[in-house]
Structure formats: structure tokens, C-alpha cells
């Protein structure tokens, strides 16, 4: 970072609110606030993780039975897509840090494309699951020993993937907003806190998926 840049960031910029003495302090406060929000999100998803741990302990055979019927291939491809999307967006953040708005725009569009493919595959997966009768209730396809635990697993599955998908949709909206800001030139090298904050949110959604993936598709499988 050049001395001139450091100097600019230590002064109020055009988008600096009145209560901050410098662009840097506003930026750091924004990042800290976002991490506080993500801490609350961690506990929000923590309830889901707790449900899984609790019922998996009580119904290990049923959870293992249900896991065998999940769409492993789609889940794995979706994991690759989300990991890649986090990296493309992080590269976009690095680009705007040196003032390259065009590269940020392109990488944000790539991130959106990866997220959209994830959602489409998730839709296909839900269709296949429902078509296979993996819906707890009168038509539930898994009968006999283990069916009670398997039903609990599928309730967890739909709840967890729906909540994750809602977060991903919000993330897609935010990344689209950043892409538009990059194209319009309203984010700059000196003032780009919004780009970093959206990056934190997007990567958090990725983190949640990385924990959900083994819980849904792998844990309990006999091999």
C-alpha cells in the first residue's frame, strides 16, 4: 500500500458518515459489525446442528438408513460449486482493493453463475427426493426398522436445505447488487466496505454448507 493511499484512507472519504474520523475507521467498524451478525447466524444454524446431533444419537440406524438414500453426487458437485464461488468472490475483493472494478464485476458475475447452478441442482435434488417418496408421512418410502429415525432425518434435511437455500438466495441478491455497483463505479479502491461485507456473508453461507454436506450425505454410511 502506498503512502498516498494510506493517507487517503486515514481521512474522511465521500461516503464516510459523519461519526467516523476516517474511511478506515468506518471500514473496520463495518467489518466488525458484520462479524457480530455472523456470530448470531452461527447460533441460528447451531440449532439445526443440535437437532441433527441429538436425534442422530437417539436414532443412529434410522439416520444411517436415510443417509443411504440421499443424492450424494449432487451434494458433492454442489460443494465444489460453493467452494469455487467463495474463491471467485474473494478474488473480486482482492481486485477492488487495487481499484480494478472491471475484474470485480466479472468475478461477481462468475460467483452469481455458480450460485444459480447450485440452486438449480438443489431444485433437481428436491424433485428426485420427493419423487422417491422421501417425504415423512403416509407415503413415506422407508418402512420397517429405522423408519422413525429416517423420518426425523428427512425433516431435518428439508428444513436445513431450505434455510440454507434462503440464505443463498439473499446472497445472490447481494452479489448482484455488488456487481451493479462495480459496473456503475460506485465502489472504489478507498471505499469498498460493502464489497467485503457481502463477501463475508457469501463465504459464511459456504461455511454452513461445508458443515451440512457431511451431515446430510456421509455420516452414518457403512461404506
Amino acid at each position: 500500500m502506498s503512502a498516498a493511499t494510506r493517507h487517503r484512507e486515514d481521512l474522511p472519504g465521500p461516503e464516510t458518515e459523519f461519526q467516523y474520523p476516517s474511511e478506515r475507521e468506518q471500514h473496520d467498524t463495518s467489518m466488525t459489525g458484520m462479524w457480530l451478525f455472523l456470530a448470531t447466524e452461527t447460533l441460528f444454524f447451531g440449532g439445526l446442528f443440535l437437532i441433527w446431533l441429538y436425534y442422530r444419537y437417539l436414532f443412529p440406524a434410522g439416520f444411517a438408513l436415510a443417509t443411504e438414500h440421499t443424492e450424494f453426487a449432487i451434494g458433492t458437485v454442489n460443494s465444489v460449486l460453493l467452494i469455487t464461488s467463495s474463491v471467485t468472490y474473494a478474488c473480486g475483493v482482492a481486485a477492488i482493493r487495487v481499484g480494478d472494478r472491471k475484474l470485480l464485476f466479472r468475478l461477481a458475475v462468475a460467483t452469481i453463475a455458480l450460485g444459480v447452478v447450485f440452486m438449480l441442482l438443489k431444485g433437481v435434488e428436491w424433485y428426485l427426493d420427493i419423487d422417491a417418496g422421501m417425504v415423512p408421512g403416509p407415503g413415506f418410502a422407508l418402512r420397517g426398522p429405522g423408519s422413525q429415525g429416517a423420518a426425523l432425518f428427512w425433516i431435518f434435511y428439508y428444513l436445513a436445505t431450505l434455510l440454507h437455500a434462503i440464505h443463498l438466495l439473499i446472497g445472490l441478491g447481494l452479489v448482484t447488487w455488488i456487481a451493479l455497483r462495480a459496473r456503475n463505479g460506485t465502489v472504489t479502491r478507498e471505499s469498498h466496505a460493502s464489497v467485503e461485507i457481502v463477501g463475508l456473508y457469501w463465504s459464511f453461507v459456504d461455511m454452513v454448507w461445508l458443515v451440512l454436506y457431511p451431515m446430510i450425505y456421509l455420516a452414518g454410511r457403512a461404506g
Partner: protein
């Protein structure tokens, strides 16, 4: 600077994909299913430290991130401590024919 950061991100991507491959192959075909959630947690930590820049973050950001993880661990561990040590357990009492000693399906 951008090249250094991009190199770090690409190395992280490669590391995450390798861990995902280990997780998927081990969990699907080698019977490591019960270990895979721990691999997932390691991968999530990698995303947080590098792609979310926590390692270069402010002290306050690190405190909030650590606190979120700490409360999650407390919630999960205390709840599970209750159910694995309680006797007689509540589910056995509420569910005819169900016993934790011979856990259900």
C-alpha cells in the same frame, strides 16, 4: 499484493477441493462417514481464516468470530452431555418400547 492474495485463495481452493475429495471418498466408500463432519469443520475454518480474511481481521472481528464458535460449542456440548448421562432418559419414558440402552432406529 493482489497476486499474493490471489495465490493464497487458489491454494486454499486446492486444499478445500482435496479435503472434499478425501471426505467424499472416505465417507462414501471407505466407511469413514462418522469422521467426515470433523473434516467439514476444518474446511469451514479454512474458509473463515483465508477467504473471509479473519487472520488479517481486526481484534474485535476475531473476538466475535471466536465467541460465536464458543457459544455453539457450549450449546452442543451441554445439550449432549445431558442426554448421554441422563438415566432414565426422557425419550425412553415417552416412547413405549424404546430404550436408550438399545437405541431406536
Amino acid at each position: 499484493m493482489i497476486l499474493t492474495r490471489t495465490r493464497d485463495y487458489l491454494l486454499t481452493w486446492a486444499g478445500l477441493i482435496i479435503l472434499l475429495a478425501v471426505e467424499a471418498v472416505g465417507g462414501r466408500w471407505l466407511g469413514w462417514g462418522n469422521v467426515t463432519p470433523f473434516i467439514g469443520i476444518v474446511m469451514a475454518a479454512g474458509v473463515g481464516m483465508v477467504l473471509m480474511h479473519l487472520r488479517h481481521g481486526t481484534g474485535e472481528a476475531k473476538i466475535f468470530a471466536f465467541t460465536g464458535a464458543l457459544w455453539l460449542v457450549i450449546m452442543l456440548s451441554l445439550t449432549m452431555m445431558d442426554i448421554v448421562t441422563r438415566s432414565p432418559d426422557p425419550v425412553s419414558q415417552a416412547t413405549p418400547g424404546f430404550s436408550l440402552a438399545n437405541r431406536g432406529g
